[in-house]
């Protein structure tokens, strides 16, 4: 326990978390500090490209593990399954309509790539290796949750026929394509390719992540200010219990398929994190009547900060206890 607290303490004192806290504080204090949309998007493209490339290069270096397919399969099952759990919990813990509950559930089945990136960076700091193909698992988990949510809605007739073109949009959304594409490039060019561009994608990575999290803090803070009264106590509790539940299931599956400690941590993080880019856009098209303030505030204002500050160190500690480190 005291070890977990020490871990959490060390995590809270990292420049990454402090940058997020700075952004959050600035937004809550109504400072006009802001990062231009184009720059924030540029940074997210950089982070996706770098994390994908590094994952691919690491696979090229260590060879393809027999567990790759199992890990991707586990990810897909989690992404399909977690929304059902989330939906059930929401119906019990909150007064949200079925539509709102389904929309929220879709977010929690999908993933937050920034949480994943932050976890990678914590693992690196502790010199814990992880399977390079976990980025492929991340990509595989982005979309299935949306289908589960649509099925939840369709079941009781409140939904409609799926919008034409939506499926293609979801599967080919920019972050999936970039993550998978740079993963493949990294795999093809291998360590040699990584060496060529490592002073771009490796060395400055953590610094860019700081600035990006500064922006995430600003955005989360502004979101919280604009939607202060949207969430009741039950919803906030859900925003913290759901990642814990997801991480536990991720832990079990990671152990069963035999991932390394680092790999288990990353699967826990993927299961615990909630989407705030791809899924919200899909929800605006597929379930426009669902209230965006609810799902964005929960995902970005409650679960994201929880995972970033307390969740990740906790998952690292649990995985280390279970798998050994």
């Amino acid at each position: 326990m005291s070890e977990i607290l020490a871990l959490a303490g060390a995590n809270l004192g990292s420049p990454i978390i402090l940058s997020f806290a700075l952004g959050l504080a600035a937004a809550l204090a109504r400072s006009d500090l802001s990062i231009p949309e184009a720059v924030a998007k540029g940074m997210s493209i950089y982070l996706l490209f770098a994390i994908g490339f590094k994952g691919g290069a690491s696979v090229a270096a260590h060879g393809l593990d027999a567990t790759l397919l199992m890990a991707v399969g586990a990810g897909i099952i989690l992404s399909f399954g977690l929304p059902l759990l989330a939906f059930a919990m929401l119906r019990i813990m909150t007064g949200f309509s079925r539509l709102d509950a389904a929309a929220v559930a879709a977010h929690y089945g999908s993933i937050s790539i920034v949480t994943f990136v932050a976890a990678t960076s914590v693992l690196e700091g502790k010199a814990i290796d992880a399977e390079g193909y976990m980025v492929a698992v991340a990509a595989a988990m982005e979309a299935p949750a949306i289908l589960s949510a649509l099925w939840l809605v369709a079941r009781d007739g409140t939904g409609r026929a799926m919008e034409p073109g939506l499926m293609r949009e979801i599967l080919l959304n920019g972050s999936i394509v970039l993550l998978v594409g740079s993963f493949v490039i990294g795999m093809v060019t291998g360590e040699k390719g990584l060496a060529e561009i490592s002073s771009f994608i490796v060395s400055p990575f953590k610094g860019v992540l700081c600035l990006f999290l500064l922006d995430m803090g600003l955005v989360a803070g502004r979101g919280l200010r604009q939607s202060k009264n949207v969430l009741g106590l039950g919803a906030v509790a859900f925003g913290i219990l759901m990642p814990l539940a997801g991480a536990s299931i991720g832990l079990a599956m990671g152990v069963i398929i035999g991932l390394s400690t680092g790999g288990v941590v990353l699967l826990m993080v993927l299961a615990a994190s909630a989407s705030y880019i791809a899924v919200p856009a899909a929800m605006r098209v597929a379930l426009p009547e669902a209230n965006p303030a609810i799902y964005l505030t929960l995902s970005l204002g409650v679960t994201f900060p929880f995972n970033l500050t307390l969740g990740i160190p906790l998952y690292v500690a649990l995985a280390t206890l279970t798998v050994g480190g």
Partner: protein, 102 residues
């Protein structure tokens, strides 16, 4: 200078819907439109700004100059897309140079 009467339709809609709206307009026989970025705004669904925005989807403004007789077809098409979404549609009278352009 020779001008032609026209209707100017201005639609503010969520960005994820932009492609669906312009496809619908094209199907309704609209031959031209212009899309202008939106920095922020406020409506029934509350205020938002592009830079302090959760989800980062945002909105866009689509401006459409059409022959008056095409107005109804356009409004039907636009409404089918906008109906369930946040956004606003307005119409005003205008004159246009170069009739071949619209």
């Amino acid at each position: 200078m020779q001008t032609h009467t026209a209707k100017r339709i201005e639609i503010v809609i969520e960005k994820p819907l932009e492609g669906r709206l312009t496809d619908a307009l094209t199907k309704a026989g609209v031959t031209g439109y212009t899309v202008v970025p939106v920095r922020g705004g406020s409506g029934r669904s509350g205020p938002w700004t592009r830079e302090g925005q959760v989800g980062r989807a945002g909105m866009v403004m689509v401006i459409c100059l059409i022959k008056p007789e095409r107005l109804d077809a356009l409004l039907e098409a636009a409404f089918a897309v906008v109906e369930r979404h946040i956004g606003i549609v307005s119409i005003s009278d205008a004159l246009v140079l170069r009739a071949d352009r619209f």
